[in-house]
């Protein structure tokens, strides 16, 4: 139970620190900024685990995890899942979610109902779909999955390896990859 208590408390601290960083130290590389905050919190969390008693001074004997290493491992897993599956995904959804942005554009539209042409032209508060796709291309260029050569997009060796992985995942799920 110590694992659950410490990981939960540190997840709240993590979210508060991320909010603080995003508001006071805005960066173009927010995901990297979040990763640094996560690593800092992870180090503090491990230190806290070693510094505190097994029962945290309040837990009953039946709530103590044995062996102790399992408690530490569970705490690291819970906290990491909270970051990679929780905070980081929340950020991804808010900052890059295509469907979510369409819903918000509909919410912010001057009239109650709008057509496809309006949504295409005014996607993301007027930036448009070309901006949206440019952002994705820039990101996968920066991650070295693709290159831009003479107005052509070329898959790198790293990109080809990951593309094979995704194609395989599609086939496992019984879906036809795009072609």
């Amino acid at each position: 139970m110590k694992a659950i208590c410490l990981a939960s408390a540190m997840t709240v601290v993590l979210l508060a620190l991320i909010t603080f960083c995003f508001r006071l130290c805005p960066s173009a590389h927010r995901a990297r900024q979040m990763l640094f905050v996560y690593l800092f919190c992870l180090a503090v969390l491990v230190a806290l685990w070693f510094a505190t008693p097994d029962d945290l001074g309040l837990l009953g004997r039946s709530l103590l995890t044995e062996p102790a290493w399992l408690d530490l491992a569970a705490m690291l897993f819970f906290f990491s899942a909270g970051f990679f599956g929780g905070a980081l995904q929340l950020y991804n959804l808010c900052d890059r979610g295509f469907s979510l942005r369409i819903l918000i554009d509909l919410l912010e539209a001057p009239i109650g109902a709008v057509d496809v042409d309006y949504l295409t032209a005014n996607y993301s508060s007027g930036r448009g779909l070309v901006w949206m796709y440019r952002k994705r291309i820039d990101d996968i260029v920066a991650a070295r999955f693709i290159d831009q050569v003479n107005k052509r997009i070329v898959l790198t060796a790293k990109g080809a390896m990951f593309a094979d992985l995704f194609i395989h995942a599609h086939r496992v799920l019984g879906l036809e990859p795009p072609h």
Partner: protein, 171 residues
């Protein structure tokens, strides 16, 4: 040697998550609707994990250790699900992933214009609106679309987070 309640809980959660994974993939392959099948199969396996952890712990360690085992099993299962869903949706819906797969399928290179025509056009907006329509987030209004109560609730929930985190319009 008797396993600790935590070990029992972790083993139960992991085993049931594997059951969920195979059930989910099997359902998708059989043509089930993804989001609905994902939730139904996960809810069943989550219950399975918690009940298994409770029963095994009660049998080996008595009732006093059941709370710890149940909480550990529930949280482990939830964490595995939280890691699985984003990976699944990246494979299923990410435009970056689809771009890379398309490039691989078409020999590793394509003109920029062709990619923009495919992924930044009216057609992709129509496809996504069809998904939102099927999920009940938008409703048709003549040739236009409007938000349903469900879609409005989602948009209103996430907009303050975007403002709090200073993210700008994004998308």
């Amino acid at each position: 040697m008797t396993s600790s309640p935590t070990l029992i809980a972790l083993a139960a959660a992991t085993s049931w998550f594997l059951v969920f994974f195979f059930a989910h993939v099997g359902g998708l392959r059989a043509g089930s609707e993804n989001a609905r099948w994902l939730l139904i199969s996960y809810a069943a396996c989550f219950l399975g994990a918690v009940v298994t952890a409770i029963l095994l712990t009660a049998w080996h360690h008595g009732m006093q250790a059941v709370i710890l085992a149940a909480m550990m099993a529930a949280l482990t299962s939830a964490c595995l699900f939280a890691l699985y869903v984003p990976a699944l949706y990246a494979v299923l819906t990410s435009l970056s992933v689809q771009t890379m797969m398309l490039l691989r399928h078409r020999g590793g290179a394509l003109p920029e214009a062709e990619l923009y025509d495919r992924f930044a056009s009216r057609k992709i907006m129509e496809q996504r609106l069809a998904t939102l329509l099927a999920s009940g987030y938008v409703a048709p209004d003549g040739r236009s679309y409007r938000l349903t109560h469900r879609g409005r609730a989602i948009a209103k929930f996430f907009r303050p987070i975007k403002i709090l985190w200073n993210l700008g319009p994004g998308g």
